[in-house]
């Protein structure tokens, strides 16, 4: 865990630096009139100190019960979710959700019947419940025509 902690400590230090630079461009104010930059400025310094401690001090490893999911699978899933977010408004909730769910089910090695049945059924059921019954303004997209 120590090596990984050093890497995450380094990444967090970079985040702290970025926030510090961002906060330094905001009005910090005075003790009697603190500005909007004060809190993020102090927070960034605190994050910097804690990240440095993470790099320097060894920490106790967290209990890990599951084997890690392979990184390529995680990247594929995140890419599918990003595509979904891009398609959400132009394509609409029902169709984009069918696509995403079908992809996840395919990745989880389900049969064609399950993929089609569950992706279409779940998308339709959630759309009906949230948009029609509860009045949430889900975009119908291409189905509006």
């Amino acid at each position: 865990m120590t090596q990984l902690d050093r890497y995450s400590g380094g990444a967090l230090l970079a985040v702290a630096l970025a926030v510090l630079i961002g906060a330094a461009h905001m009005p910090i104010g005075t003790p009697s009139d603190p500005g909007p930059g004060l809190f993020p400025f102090v927070g960034a310094i605190l994050l910097g100190i804690l990240s440095t401690l993470l790099i320097v001090l060894p920490t106790q490893a967290a209990a890990e019960s599951d084997p890690p999911a392979p990184l390529p699978d995680v990247v594929k899933m995140l890419a599918a979710l990003c595509l979904y977010a891009l398609a959400f408004e132009p394509v609409g909730y029902p169709l984009s959700t069918v696509g995403l769910l079908a992809f996840i089910l395919y990745e989880n090695k389900q049969t064609i019947a399950v993929i089609l049945g569950l992706s279409i059924g779940l998308s339709a059921a959630t759309y009906y419940t949230f948009a029609k019954v509860l009045g949430v303004a889900l975009p119908p997209g291409l189905l509006m025509v």
Binding site: L53, T59, L81, A85, E89, N108
Partner: protein, 512 residues
């Protein structure tokens, strides 16, 4: 006797067929809304607000109150079964509830959640009757300095949510505070870290963050077939808590109810903060803090008791001072205004039948909720028999729709994805998500209180220690921080003595 007379008057109103029916409708709607991720009780009440205009005032408020505390019952269900918080106050229930479900103890967790909600709901209602007005007066003494000190105390407790490493817990808490600064600064209207994105002007909403870190993060970390699927398919044992569970959870129930009642009654407090504080306090006081987060019953009982107790005590500032303490009571405040009633000190005097009928209906509503929730446990736990390959897309669909439903903004889906990735990374690197979430909630309260207090005192920092309540809260935070270090020699001596006694006993046992 005055209180008893008023309560009996309220009970007679609450037991009318119309009020009973609306109490039932509110409880059922609340449970359902609570189970559905994203659409919290505030949004549900907002949707129903126009419909209440045509209803009798007492029935309308009874129904809306039922939705609020009913959501606290239902919110834990998806936290326990899917690791997706149904309601913001149920986030912390994920920590141990979901682990219990994976160990085949979903029924026990759901049962304890229902009983804890019932016990704390009844406790909160009794408190509302007996100490409501004096507690409301006390909460009025909370100014900016006191709220800052309260947030500091909450953040000190956060370090106990951080799993094995206090350092990593602190890092996540500071990250949460920094995420809390995104958006328009409420004092100067300055845009902070919004990068020109209009959706970020209102800040980062708590719901997609919690769903990303818990629900989506979990899916990303365990979505392939493997060990996790075998655990989910483990045999489901007992559907209700056993005597041993009750013994283990008894103090967590009591403390959770008290903490929830106090935090809920503070303007700006609320069920979410109450549930986190109750969990952290329980972990802090436990003899085995390392077992929290591994699936123990206390980790479900404390937050569930706290959020229900807080949902009830949130009515104290509303009824006695006319101050809504959170978005849900703000909606109920609006419903009272719609009915031509003015919440505040005169409400008890001018409309005792309404106020006391609502209070009495809370007892009835809690009984209704227990009756409808307990038989559901057997049905709900069957969800865990669904193979993980099929359950995963269902969870993803609920996370996405839940995040979008918050304010029908696609930016929340992006926030969900980003925090899902962060949740995955946090799991892999041994960071706990809970401190980040509580810090995100407490951050704006802490920053605004700090700046207001400094403005008020003209930059004099002593305001935080010279005001008695603020000073006491900071002293409590300090005691929690340095207490364990001071107590270490005494504890070591005690554990050495216990070990010595055990060794002596063993040496006298036959055959040794």
């Amino acid at each position: 006797m005055d209180i008893l007379d008023h309560f009996l008057l309220g009970l007679s109103h609450a037991l009318s067929w119309t009020n009973l029916l609306f109490c039932f409708i509110g409880a059922v709607l609340g449970t359902t809304i609570g189970m559905l991720p994203g659409l919290g009780p505030a949004a549900a009440i907002a949707l129903l607000l126009p419909a209440t205009y045509a209803m009798p005032p007492t029935a309308a408020i009874i129904m809306l109150a039922g939705i609020y505390y009913g959501a606290m019952y239902g919110g834990s269900t998806s936290s326990i079964l899917l690791n997706v918080p149904g309601e913001s106050a149920s986030v912390v229930t994920c920590l141990d509830g979901y682990r219990m479900a994976r160990q085949g103890r979903a029924g026990v967790a759901l049962g304890m959640s229902a009983f804890a909600s019932f016990i704390a709901g009844a406790f909160g209602t009794a408190g509302l009757m007996l100490v409501g007005p004096p507690l409301a007066d006390f909460s009025l003494r909370f100014g900016a300095a006191e709220y800052f000190s309260l947030a500091v105390l909450g953040l000190v407790l956060v370090t106990y949510l951080g799993g094995a490493s206090v350092l990593k817990g602190l890092i996540m808490a500071v990250l949460g505070l920094l995420f809390g600064t995104v958006g328009i600064d409420p004092i100067s209207a300055y845009q902070r870290f919004t990068f020109g994105v209009l959706s970020l002007s209102d800040g980062i909403d708590f719901v997609p963050v919690a769903m990303g870190l818990f629900g989506l993060g979990e899916i990303l970390a365990t979505r392939t077939e493997g060990k996790s699927q075998q655990i989910l398919e483990a045999r489901l044992t007992g559907l209700l808590p056993t005597a041993r569970d009750w013994i283990a959870a008894r103090w967590a129930l009591v403390r959770g109810s008290f903490v929830g009642f106090f935090v809920g009654a503070l303007p700006g407090g609320g069920a979410t903060i109450a549930s986190f504080v109750a969990y952290a306090l329980e972990k802090r006081l436990s003899r085995r803090p390392e077992t929290f987060g591994t699936g123990i019953i206390e980790g479900v009982a404390a937050p569930e008791a706290a959020n229900n107790s807080a949902a009830t005590s949130a009515f104290i500032p509303l009824f006695t001072l006319g101050i809504p303490s959170n978005p849900v009571t703000a909606m109920i405040f609006a419903a009272l205004l719609l009915q031509g009633l003015r919440p505040g000190p005169l409400l008890f005097k001018d409309n005792p039948d309404l106020v006391w009928a609502v209070i009495a209906s809370m007892y009835i509503g809690n009984v209704i909720l227990l009756i409808i929730n307990l038989p559901l446990i057997g049905v709900l736990v069957q969800l865990l028999r669904v193979p993980y390959g099929i359950l995963a897309p269902i969870i993803v669909a609920f996370c996405l729709i839940g995040a979008y439903s918050v304010n029908t903004d696609v930016a929340n889906i992006w926030i969900l994805i980003a925090f899902g990735a962060l949740g995955y990374a946090a799991r892999r690197l041994g960071f706990e998500a809970a401190p980040l979430i509580l810090a995100l909630v407490l951050g704006p309260l802490m920053e605004n209180s700090l700046r207001q207090a400094l403005l008020y005192s003209q930059g004099d920092l002593s305001i935080f220690i010279t005001r008695p309540i603020s000073g006491a809260l900071l002293l409590a935070a300090l005691a929690i921080l340095v207490g364990p270090t001071l107590m270490r020699p005494w504890r070591m001596r005690k554990s050495r003595a216990v070990r010595g006694e055990e060794e002596a006993k063993r040496s006298f046992e036959p055959g040794s």
